[in-house]
């Protein structure tokens, strides 16, 4: 155990950094996608709602590992070979971020839609009755209330996405699981290595949960 830590500790720490970087990129774009698609699924336009529903169901219906292979290998192949345009290269980080963003974005969209729908319609009606346009009513009145109820689900989704980065070891991104595999291959100490890796994930996720609790407390109204 101590040999793993002294010899490979730094390597694993760097890999954890890569995992967090990937998760951060993924989550950042997932939030944007989730917000856009989530709002698209509550507007009055049927076309918008349809597009949003197709996106969410498509992503939810495909395992993330398939999505990862598709984006990393399939899309450049389509672009360069089938369409013959050429010149497209995706790094594992880019492909991985897109994959996480799409996957997490679809779930975020559902969380955001449900959050918006959980706010009493009277709130929107009151804002509209004062002459506020739909969009302003959304931003000033409905979303702030929706986000408050959504925070536990969003944190949960963040944690799932953080763990899902491990799936992206299959496209060769040097995140924690990929690196740990190399350590095991070099040392044969699978028990020690995977125990350490598990503990590393656990610590990060506990920290995230703790930060989330603090945030939730701060967002209580009129406290």
């Amino acid at each position: 155990m101590t040999r793993i830590i002294t010899t490979y500790g730094q390597l694993l720490a760097v890999a954890m950094g890569q995992t967090l970087l990937l998760a951060l990129y993924g989550l950042f774009f997932a939030c944007i996608i989730g917000m856009i698609v989530g709002i698209m699924s509550v507007v009055s336009s049927r076309a918008c709602r349809f597009i949003a529903a197709v996106f969410v169901n498509l992503i939810r219906g495909v395992p993330m590992i398939v999505l990862a292979y598709f984006i990393f290998f399939g899309v450049p192949y389509l672009w360069n070979t089938i369409l013959g345009i050429g010149g497209m290269t995706l790094t594992a980080l880019q492909a991985g971020s897109i994959c996480l963003a799409l996957n997490c974005g679809a779930y975020m969209a559902e969380i955001i839609r449900a959050g918006i729908e959980s706010v009493d319609v009277g709130q929107m009606e009151a804002a509209r009755s004062l002459g506020l346009p739909w969009w302003r009513s959304m931003v000033r009145v409905v979303l702030p209330q929706a986000i408050r109820t959504m925070i536990p689900s969003i944190i949960n989704q963040f944690i799932i996405t953080l763990k899902d980065t491990s799936i992206l070891s299959v496209i060769g991104f040097p995140e924690l699981v990929n690196t740990a595999k190399n350590v095991v291959a070099a040392t044969f100490m699978s028990f020690q290595t995977w125990a350490i890796v598990g503990a590393m994930y656990l610590v990060v996720i506990l920290l995230l949960q703790w930060a989330a609790k603090a945030l939730e407390r701060r967002l209580k109204y009129g406290a």
């Binding site: 009606e125 009151a126 804002a127 009755s129 004062l130 002459g131 506020l132 009145v141 209330q145 009129g222």
Partner: protein, 248 residues
């Protein structure tokens, strides 16, 4: 007011409203003069709320015409938000913005719509809170108020937009009996200073005392209208009589 020519604030003609197959308003025609207080009564499901909500297009009419202060709001091209700035609405369940304190509830629309700058809006908000007797609640959040206080804040919030017309949909129905009076007092005051009001209510005492005209609705139609004395004292339609017997 007598020496002034009474202008029409609300003109409704042959209004129809259906939800899918369900025809809720069948053929409603109604004029409300400036400064007039019209009280709408009728059994549950008769379409009172729907009529009121059509007047600021929270529900879009299925047919007919609605003209508010000279603007035809059934015209899809009209700027409904501009009309709504002049038409306040008070809801049965108050609908105060839960994420804001009372002062910000009152200031939101005037500031966001650039009707008033922040400082003017703040002064106006405090003045309106004073009018409804809640000057000390400016910093409170909605969940810290009683029902009656919430409804008075909701009225003040609508008044901050300086509306010409106020719509009330059963403003006291969700209140404990001991809080009904304080809300009705505020509404009476508004009526006395000449606000044009359309009020859906089950408070017959209020209708009698404050209403210029009482309208009885049933089954999506106006069955009878007249002065409170006429409607309560000598109702003509048997359905009106029946309804009044049940509620009085």
């Amino acid at each position: 007011m007598e020496h002034k020519e009474k202008k029409i604030a609300i003109h409704v003609s042959h209004l129809k409203k259906s939800f899918k197959q369900l025809e809720v308003l069948k053929d409603i025609s109604l004029d409300v003069a400036e400064g007039e207080v019209v009280v709408i009564i009728g059994p549950s499901g008769s379409g009172k709320s729907t009529l009121l909500r059509c007047l600021n297009r929270l529900e879009a009419a299925s047919g007919g015409e609605i003209v508010i202060d000279g603007t035809d709001i059934t015209d899809r091209k009209c700027d409904i938000n501009k009309v709504r700035e002049r038409v306040g609405m008070v809801f049965q369940h108050f609908n105060l913005f839960n994420n804001m304190n009372v002062l910000r509830n009152l200031m939101l629309a005037p500031v966001d719509l650039k009707k008033q700058d922040r400082e003017t809006a703040r002064k106006k908000a405090l003045e309106m809170l004073g009018r409804v007797g809640l000057s000390d609640k400016a910093q409170a959040y909605p969940h810290q108020l009683s029902g009656g206080q919430k409804q008075r804040v909701a009225i003040a919030r609508a008044l901050c937009m300086l509306p010409d017309i106020m719509l009330f949909d059963e403003p006291t129905s969700a209140l404990d009996p001991e809080m009904v009076g304080e809300v009705l007092e505020v509404m009476k005051h508004l009526a006395h200073i000449g606000m044009t009001m359309v009020v859906v209510t089950h408070e017959m005492g209020f209708a009698r005392e404050v209403g210029d005209r009482v309208i009885f609705m049933d089954g999506g139609l106006i069955l009878e209208e007249g002065t409170p004395e006429a409607i309560f004292g000598n109702p003509q339609n048997p359905r009106t009589r029946d309804f009044l017997n049940k509620v009085l």
